[in-house]
């Protein structure tokens, strides 16, 4: 094994560099310092969340773990109290959008769907879902756009516009605590799942990383100062302290892929939708935590 560039520095712990190239070995290293996820229970306003679930067959670990278990105590606390959670500001904004009439058809979300607390309860835990019209899986963002175009006479939201993030967060929040569970028997979901799995294990970019390089092979260890989680999708859109803003799943996927120094696929492209299907499936059984708080 080639040692990292820090060899000789007084840092405790074992450094393991992955990738064969000399450049990679000196640029990045995973370290095994204090690497365990915490053994704590997340309850949001007294409602207990499932942050550990039995892993689906075929995954290389016994349990799937929410990213919450990998964060610092202060960050975990922010999510446990819905008042302190800054993501709840977007939930409130989303509720306003839900009830506001927009577009030539004179409709709001509520005109058809009524009270989201009832009509949207538990719904988002089963997304992405098969969409027979477009013959591909759709997520909450695309489902909202479908309503806007077909029933409200509006344009789809611009990717990652504030309103798209707020409304998606609001709708997903109605499934808070609900275990993630996809129906892969619908339409062609299975083949999208397989395509997503291929993408998950595909090494790309100048650093030659697959999703699995960090979030499977080295989950629990540190990459620089960052504690690597399993990269689960159950908390998205998630409030990231780094951006001080809501971050959508496709924004995060693009960010991760960019960090491997690869070409970044477009949001909602076939590539990323397949990855979303597969990634969401990996977290089957974990509670929806939207809006989760991460570092």
């Amino acid at each position: 094994m080639r040692r990292g560039a820090w060899e000789g520095l007084p840092v405790r712990g074992k450094f393991a560099a992955i990738g064969a190239g000399v450049l990679v070995a000196s640029a990045l290293a995973f370290s095994a310092v204090q690497a365990e996820p915490v053994d704590e229970t997340l309850s949001i306003d007294g409602v207990e969340m499932t942050t550990r679930a039995k892993a689906q067959e075929g995954l290389p670990f016994d349990e799937v773990l929410s990213g919450w278990l990998f964060r610092e105590a202060e960050t975990r606390q922010l999510e446990a109290d819905s008042f302190e959670n800054p993501g709840m500001l977007y939930v409130e904004r989303g509720e306003e959008i839900w009830n506001t009439v927009e577009g030539p058809a004179g409709q709001s979300c509520a005109s058809c769907h009524g009270d989201a607390a009832e009509s949207m309860a538990g719904i988002a835990a089963h997304y992405p879902k098969w969409d027979a019209d477009s013959q591909r899986p759709i997520n909450i963002e695309l489902r909202i756009d479908k309503c806007r175009v077909e029933h409200m006479g509006l344009e789809p939201y611009k990717f990652d516009s504030d309103d798209q993030k707020a409304l998606t967060t609001y709708i997903k929040h109605q499934s808070l605590g609900e275990p993630v569970n996809l129906d892969l028997a619908e339409g062609d979901m299975q083949s999208w799942w397989e395509r997503g799995k291929e993408r998950y294990y595909l090494r790309t970019g100048q650093l030659n990383f697959a999703c699995a390089s960090c979030h499977e092979a080295n989950s629990g260890l540190y990459i620089r100062a960052d504690h690597l989680s399993q990269g689960q999708a159950n908390g998205f859109p998630t409030y990231r302290l780094k951006q001080a803003d809501m971050v959508s799943l496709h924004n995060r996927l693009r960010g991760c892929i960019r960090d491997t120094r690869a070409e970044t696929p477009a949001a909602f492209s076939d590539e990323l939708m397949a990855l979303e299907v597969y990634l969401t499936w990996r977290g089957t059984g974990l509670s929806v935590e939207t809006p989760a708080v991460r570092q």
Binding site: F83, E84, M88, L89, Y90, E92, R93, A166, L241, A244
Partner: protein
């Protein structure tokens, strides 16, 4: 986000002399004045520069805020209440806007 929206959390009731916890949060970009836009022009500073909490007209907590404070500033503090009354919260923006919220508390 567009319009800053305050949120406050104060207990509805308390015993006389009890120390209560007050939590406040306001949505605000807290633009520091240190960033540049895509054309290289400085984005003007726009932050909340002052936060005050009054109880029945008397200030119980206040602070000046500087650009290092993150977006969506959150404050949590304690207050001792002797009588029923109203907490009034005020956030002052760089552009002169004032955002306000009020919560009543009953002392038994």
């Amino acid at each position: 986000m567009a319009t800053p929206r305050p949120r406050v959390k104060v207990p509805k009731t308390a015993a006389a002399g009890e120390v209560i916890t007050i939590k406040t949060l306001i949505s605000h970009d807290m633009e520091s004045g240190q960033r540049k836009d895509s054309e290289g022009n400085t984005i003007p500073r726009k932050i909340i520069n002052k936060f005050t909490c009054d109880f029945n007209g008397q200030t119980v907590f206040s602070c000046d805020i500087d650009p290092a404070i993150s977006a969506n500033p959150y404050f949590e503090f304690n207050a001792k209440v002797a009588e029923s009354g109203t907490f009034k919260f005020t956030w002052v923006d760089d552009d002169g806007s004032v955002y306000e919220a009020e919560e009543k508390i009953e002392v038994k």
